[in-house]
Amino acid sequence: MMKRKILRYIRIATMWLVALIWILPFVGVFMTAIRPMEEILDGWWNFEKFNLTFENFSKALTHPTASLAQGTKNSLIVAIPATVIPLLIATMAGYGFSRYKFPSKKLTFILIIITLALPQQMIAVPVFQLLNAFGLVDRYLGLILIHSAWGIPWITFFMRNFFSTIPANIEEAARIDGASDFLVFFRIIFPLALPGIASAAALQFTWVWSDFFLALISVYSPEKLLATQRIPLMRGVYHVDWGLLAAGAILVLVVPLTVYVILQKQYVKGMVGWSLK
């Protein structure tokens, strides 16, 4: 009995330790962001002086060359459609793969899985050429399309697996009750698939939001730069304002964090989409 209790404490202590190590860098960034520069020069872990300030945040939001307010707006303009479009297409595709029989279904699905293994660096050049050919360079539409194309395969895979967990009988019952394919999908399947859709949405949104690489190759006009692209610009040539950088990083982080918190309950339920059958 005693032994079991001790083991339990050890387990809890280990978990706390891991969690602390995990969160420590973030605490550092946070402390840097909310304190004046001179307090953190000797390390943020010195607390002899502690003055709370939000100056760094307002400076980041209204930065003369890399305003994060504008960056956040730009990022939203990209991230929202780049989440909705692939989600819509891939959810229907995933449904098709999980429910319908059609020729070369297996082959098509394998091709989709293979694209998941492609590294982004490999497609950078061809994608840029493609954007150029269609006149989409330095336009949000181009970036939205790349993100959509990049998201569709994994969401298709994810949603197909999720749909497989919904008993087909429910759809058959609806079909007998008088629903067309379209109604079955939107009135029965869609609400049941919400946890899956929500977690796919959270992941895709976070992914698009935190992307730096694809944005780098497709958007370059200073006023069009996304939030992630603006943070490096806040670093001066001769002087680095760590407080400003930290505040900027936190501001960029807040949006996907909020999305995750809102969808958290669904997100956990939706994780079954990763199980492969």
Binding site: N169, E172, A173, A174, I176
Partner: protein, 367 residues
Amino acid sequence: MAQVLLENVTKIYDNKVVAVKDANLVVEDKEFVVLLGPSGCGKTTTLRMIAGLEEITKGTIKIDGRVVNDVEPKDRDIAMVFQNYALYPHMTVYQNMAFGLKLRKYPKDEIDRRVKEAAKILGIEELLDRKPKQLSGGQRQRVAVGRAIVRNPKVFLFDEPLSNLDAKLRVQMRAELKKLHSRLQATIVYVTHDQVEAMTMADKIVIMKDGVIQQIGDPHQIYNKPANIFVAGFIGSPAMNFIKAKIVRGEGGLWVQASGFKVKLVKEHEDLLANYVDKDVIFGIRPENVFDKVFALAPSSENTISAQVDIVEPLGNATILHLRSGEDSIVASVDPRTKAKEGMEMDVVFDMSTIHIFDPETEKAII
């Protein structure tokens, strides 16, 4: 309400597996028909073809005189109750039951009236605002039935609706479904692998095996006049005894000669077996037609055999004896007052008017 007609209905999956072969069946108006068979016998596939959930490879299905082969499930005017209930998890009980009516654009007050009436019949009025998750298995089953009856369809299809319920509830729901049938005057096709369900509820039983209909008849016929060895063995518990035997001519007429006993056939059976004299047959007798000699009505040297008692299983209302005679084992369900003890020799009496004789090659019943 309507008649359902299957003509040479065949289902072949992916051009290979034959799930149902040349099924011919008439389900009369207001009839309660049970499709019975072991798993994989094609009974569910048959039901799903009637529902329109499976395409028909060959043959025709008519509902109320109309060929429905290419008619969508929703346009067949049928309702189906699934084994796992298949309720819509995100809707309340009320919404579950109203869904079909809503899609068919019934006026709101009509939907309300029908849902409440069905809820009353099924005793689920106080559950209407709950979600399926908050219901017990029996309650979910009722909702599934309710969803079917609000639509007042021509035909009800049930796919093993009771097999997910516990034994006690199953007996109760069985009686309720039977009551519901007479109340609704509905045409019902019901699939089950449970022979008790089939025997207790059906007007007509259809026994299937390996995609082929073995016999169609009322419970009485199926039990007393099985068409072949499969039907004879599938219906009845404990199962019928099958013993390898030979028909021989002997003292006073024809006899059945087995490895360990010889019994005389009754007069009316003799004519039917005239062509089988000196040929091998399968002799069948149900356990309840084997009696302890002490309690038998008319024991004689012509119908009494001596056997060794292997196992005695008292059930209270009867005692099951596992007997051995020659190379054959015989199961008997005898009067519980029997004095039979394991290891002893005893005399048992066959009721020869109830026996069955099967052709060993075709497995078809001769008697």
